[in-house]
Amino acid sequence: MNGYTGKALIIDLTERKSEEIELSQSMLRAYLGGSGLAVRLLYDHLAPGVDPLEPGNVIVFACGVFAGTIVPAAAKHSVATKSPLTGMLGDAMAGSFFSHTLKRAGYDAVVILGRADTPVYVFIDDHTVYFRDARALWGQECFATEEAIREELGDEAVRVSAIGTAGENLVRFACIGNDRGRQAGRTGPGAVMGSKNLKAIAVRGSGAVAVADNDAVYQTSCDLITQAQGPATGKYREPGTVGNVLTLNRLGVLPVRNFQRTALDEAEGISGETLHRRHHEKTVACAACPIACEQVMKVAEGSHAGARVSVDYETLFALGPCCDVDDLPAVIRAAELCDTLGMDTLSTGVTLAWAMEAAERGLLPPDDGVDLRFGNADAMVAMILKIARREGLGEILAEGSRLAAQEVGKDSDYFAIHSKGLELPGYDPRGMKTYALGLAVGTRGGCHNRSLAYEPDLKGKVDRFKAEKGRGQIAMAQEDVAVLLDSLGICKFMRGCFTDLHEEGARLYSQATGWDVSAQELVEAGERISNLKKMFNVREGWTRELDSLPPRLMQEPIPDGPGKGVSLPPAELELLVSDYYEARGWTAEGEVAPATQDRLGLSGQTA
């Protein structure tokens, strides 16, 4: 098979056995790869209703379609599982050499079942699978684990996806790290690995990924690489996405102090430009990426001297303005701790912001030596360690903002900033109504990246302060573009390099696979995968009340900035959500209607 390997590996940790299965052309064309393939395999292998941290949960790694080839910035891999943070679809991605290597080992995907009785790591050495003792690795950080495994196996070419202590301790927003600095970050897949006693997956691939027409793929890729040096990616190359701070602050959608405000009085000190000027050390790329957006920051002096990590906008927002912390070295240290301990920086920061507000309101029990309040950078850094170890207050915060607020009670859920349990990213939805809709209906919970619905708001294609009919269609189209990119495995930062993603994507897909795939087929694949994700959630007990936003954002108007006074009352969100269901061809209750399932070839496909 060209482009693909046509095989998936099923690994049973309980039995310590593995087997290969064939992936058919029709299945691959319908679900592409990456996110689509991962969710399809999850849907087929997971029994509904299991506790996400029990052995019955399943975790799937799937390579982007073009992983292992020259197609630029297209080496993402997806991780799908039932999320311990949301109880719904867990859906994370990372840019990586891991997927390149997995593909060269001969697999488009790996499905992991069961639970090992003692800590193990799985070593996929081309077509041989080893279950190796990981007891000595247990307790080690993500990066250290990667290095230790390479050392043990004696091969620098081995690529590793590993969890840190947060995953071992079942922190519900634990991530999976790979390539020393990339993460499958959101919805807590690291905790699922921890629950399975699976410390890491190591891969060595010595095979080749064949493409049907190498000349054509090479030429198309060279054109994309040229485009990727142009204005479409300028902001990613320098200073990177952290440049968003000043702009979002000026537009009044930068969440500050746990979404109590939408702008900082003084943003320069915590801006991406200042961060870059003071701390930038090196620009790094993911596999086969001509953009290179990863900006490694370093602290040279002071109490955080030596801290070194790449920082993007969401990380800076969550550990900076959201916690009202303006100490850049502390933000870098906090981000580094999150990455090494293996937890999602976004959920960590927003959960900490909830804790700071709860503590200031006297709702949290005191924690020895850690004085949680807004702006206290030392407390933020100290508490991150405690969360990973589940010590003191960290035991509660390791559950994420939704469950922590349930535990603490006293109406603290009013200011728990999540949707479906997933903490919100760094844009205030009250001043971006299409985005608000995208967040509310997102199958993985509050996420900008899966919805892409911020784009029409911020580009001014619509009046961002207004909720109106028609936004459902826009949000749907944006979401289907996002899911298509996630399933092809192409980084979203490349999307501006395509004039017509569906046309050019179909051409590239056909050149790689040798199958004659049309733009329309890709449009339908995007829609099909979005619907399958929703069907997964419905099967896990989704109800309409979950398509919502935090009470604070639906009750308080924007307090300051250009959007001052604008609100997002529940009735307005209801109108948007209903409009979206209608655009999707779903029932009024928001379930995938049988006719829609039929049209997309999704009917009768329950496991």
């Binding site: 204005p231 479409a232 300028g234 902001k235 990177g240 996405t241 000043l246 000026r250 990246n449």
Partner: protein, 97 residues
Amino acid sequence: MSKRIKQLVTEFFGPAREITGVAEVELDLETTASARDLLRALAASYPALKGPIIDPEGWSTAPYILMNLDGRETIQNYDLELQPGARVLLMSALAGG
């Protein structure tokens, strides 16, 4: 007798700020000046904006650069007459991260 003038503030973000080296600039324009007139005046003050930020042929913004009025709305029609005291933002089209 001089023409009547209005003062307009332009705030620079991202690459525009990097090019000009300043956070904002105040320019005097004729009272009837449009967004396009402002872009011409900015290009005259900072010629390096021509190309990466301002399209000197159509006198609009370059691809992936947005012109925003008062932090509230993106200017789509460059013939829009700017009100005295208006603050115009030159920024990158935002995305992701």
